[in-house]
């Protein structure tokens, strides 16, 4: 009788329903977070048994010039990528949020790169920016510029990656901004028009404040993703030329999976996690003070 009651209880059916997914997330999501923390205090190469070394990994990290370089490159990349993609996305979204001829075509053109993979995009841009036969150098030569090495040049590689990833991401910002723009009540715009607001004044005083939450989300989300830059660097430049495009995750990857220094790499992973979480907290804290929430 009792067993029957338990079998029919909500506790059991609830757990039975949730268990498969919860178990998978526990094994592949929660255990690795804790394990990663433990690894960061160990010396291990993924093969032989690990050895406890306290905070030695973190102390070594503070003095590692290549790590410092990677951090600088990641920050430079983020500082360029975030404002360019967010501001560019805003401009394009505002242009697309109108009933003008061919708007569906332009919208699709902007959205398509969003669904392409990082590798497919990179293959396209390697060819586009080819130093010898690339279309971009050809167009620049018409203007009397170049030829440039782009990904092949130590001074230009990181900026070329910025340009390529803004191309791939801008549609994402446009999607978010268009959704936010369509949420602006037309009555507000009409009231402002009656009060004689001009286009710029309207944008500055009405549209922009109402887009605050979307902008905050995009800044936070683009920063998180920018700090995780990896695929493009691995595939196109391998951190080069020299160490010109070493970024944090690329350094982490090469340590863990190419040089087998997993403990040291786990310390980098944890520094990255803490950096991302604190940057997010700071951005949200600043954002709360600047952003106007309508509801």
């Amino acid at each position: 009788m009792r067993i029957r009651r338990i079998l029919q209880s909500d506790h059991l059916s609830g757990w039975a329903f949730a268990f498969p997914a919860v178990f998978l997330i526990f094994v592949f999501g929660i255990v690795p977070v804790i394990w990663s923390a433990l690894l960061s205090f160990q010396h291990t190469n993924l093969l032989s048994p690990p050895q406890w070394i306290g905070t030695a990994n973190y102390r070594a990290l503070a003095k590692d010039p290549l790590f410092r370089q990677s951090v600088v490159h990641s920050l430079v990349y983020t500082a360029l990528f975030v404002p360019l993609s967010v501001a560019g996305g805003l401009l394009v979204a505002i242009a697309l949020n109108r009933r003008i001829r061919g708007v569906r075509f332009y919208r699709t053109a902007v959205f398509v790169p969003v669904v392409l993979s990082t590798i497919a995009t990179a293959i396209m841009f390697l060819w586009l920016l080819d130093p010898d036969f690339g279309l971009v150098n050809f167009l620049l030569s018409k203007l009397g510029l170049g030829p440039y090495g782009f990904f092949d040049s130590a001074s230009g590689a990181l900026y070329s990656i910025v340009g390529m990833t803004v191309w791939g991401w801008i549609g994402f910002d446009v999607i978010i901004y268009l959704a936010a723009l369509q949420g602006i009540p037309p009555s507000l715009v009409e009231a402002a028009e009656i009060d004689g607001a001009r286009t710029w004044g309207m944008f500055r005083n009405i549209t922009l404040p109402l887009l605050g939450p979307a902008t905050l989300f995009l800044v936070v989300w683009s920063s998180i993703n920018a700090l995780q830059l990896f695929d493009e660097v691995y595939f196109i430049t391998n951190g080069g030329p020299g160490t010109a495009t070493y970024v944090v995750v690329y350094y982490l990857f090469s340590l863990a999976f190419q040089q087998g220094v997993a403990g040291y790499a786990a310390a980098i992973a944890y520094v990255l996690l803490i950096a991302i979480l604190s940057l997010t907290v700071v951005q949200l804290w600043v954002g709360r003070r600047l952003v106007y929430y309508a509801s």
């Binding site: 949730a18 394990w35 990663s36 959205f111 969003v114 293959i123």
Partner: protein, 293 residues
């Protein structure tokens, strides 16, 4: 101002705006932004397409030929002959289809439990799952690799499928959606003696089409385009996915730009096809998940 004149003047403003819009219809100053932007977005893809049907000599030419002299579709069949492209394609389809199916099933079950069933530990487990959404994959990839290795799945499709069968995002998305459905619907069925499982499958899921489609599209996009995890776990060419295969193809055919572009076009086709068929769900999915290819 009386109510009527307020309405009249608002109507006048609307009419005026409509007239202005009609005036802008053919060409507006917004086109000055949109035309160059569209050109920048489309030219890389158009040039890839052009290169993919050129001969090798045509690609090694400066200034470049903007239009192909001949349409050499043989490049595409050459790719299929020179690399296990079909194999990579099949692998990617298997991994993607199983991952999408797994996410739909397991996230529906868990999402329903978290939305409707009160069970021991529900709140704390749900919070723990939500917290994993904030952890970037790169932070946990080393121990995840060790776990998958210990399970004996390294260099198998299982390594790509099993960790990807359910996700925190899917559970969250479906839980939120299920909570918007009126609870009376299922209460009536429960009183008639229907089990939780049949309530979920016969009442809840048929009403959840848009949410399920969004989850399916996002899982598809994520799995199809993923690169870092296959890079870590797969080493033999036979078990590679398209993204990983493309990078090895690029390594061996660096100078055959035409073949490389043909391979790239083929790798994009399924995603582009699905995008044009289900654009609405892609847009919604991308907006709600914050995910990009």
């Amino acid at each position: 101002m009386t109510g009527r004149t307020a309405i009249a003047s608002r109507g006048a403003a609307r009419k005026e705006r409509a007239e202005r819009e009609r005036g802008q219809f053919l060409f507006s100053r917004w086109h000055l932004i949109l035309i160059p932007v569209a050109a920048v977005m489309l030219i890389p893809m158009v040039w890839m397409l052009v290169t993919s049907v050129q001969t090798l000599n045509e690609t090694r030419h400066f200034p470049p030929d903007l239009l192909p002299h001949t349409v050499r579709l043989r490049n595409y069949t050459d790719v299929l002959r020179q690399a296990p492209f079909a194999r990579w394609f099949v692998n990617t389809v298997i991994v993607t289809v199983v991952s999408v199916a797994g996410n739909l099933l397991f996230c529906s079950l868990a999402g329903y439990a978290f939305a409707r069933i009160k069970f021991f530990g529900r709140e704390i487990v749900f919070l723990a799952i939500l917290a994993t959404l904030m952890i970037p994959f790169q932070v946990v990839m080393i121990p995840t690799f060790i776990i998958v290795k210990d399970l004996g799945m390294i260099n198998t499709l299982g390594a790509l499928i099993v960790p990807n069968l359910a996700g925190a995002f899917g559970i969250f998305l479906l839980r939120q959606f299920f909570r918007t459905l009126p609870v009376e619907l299922e209460e009536a069925a429960r009183i008639d003696g229907a089990s939780r499982l049949s309530v979920l499958f016969k009442i809840i899921l048929p009403l959840s089409g848009p949410a399920l489609a969004t989850l399916a599209v996002i899982t598809f996009l994520w799995t199809w385009n993923d690169f870092l995890w296959p890079l870590i776990t797969i080493s033999s060419a036979n078990n590679m996915t398209l993204q990983l295969g493309l990078t090895t193809f690029q390594g061996t055919h660096q100078t055959s730009t035409n073949l490389l572009m043909a391979a790239n076009v083929m790798s994009m086709l399924p995603v582009l096809l699905l995008f044009f068929l289900a654009q609405r769900y892609f847009i919604r999915g991308i907006a709600t998940s914050g995910l990009k290819g």
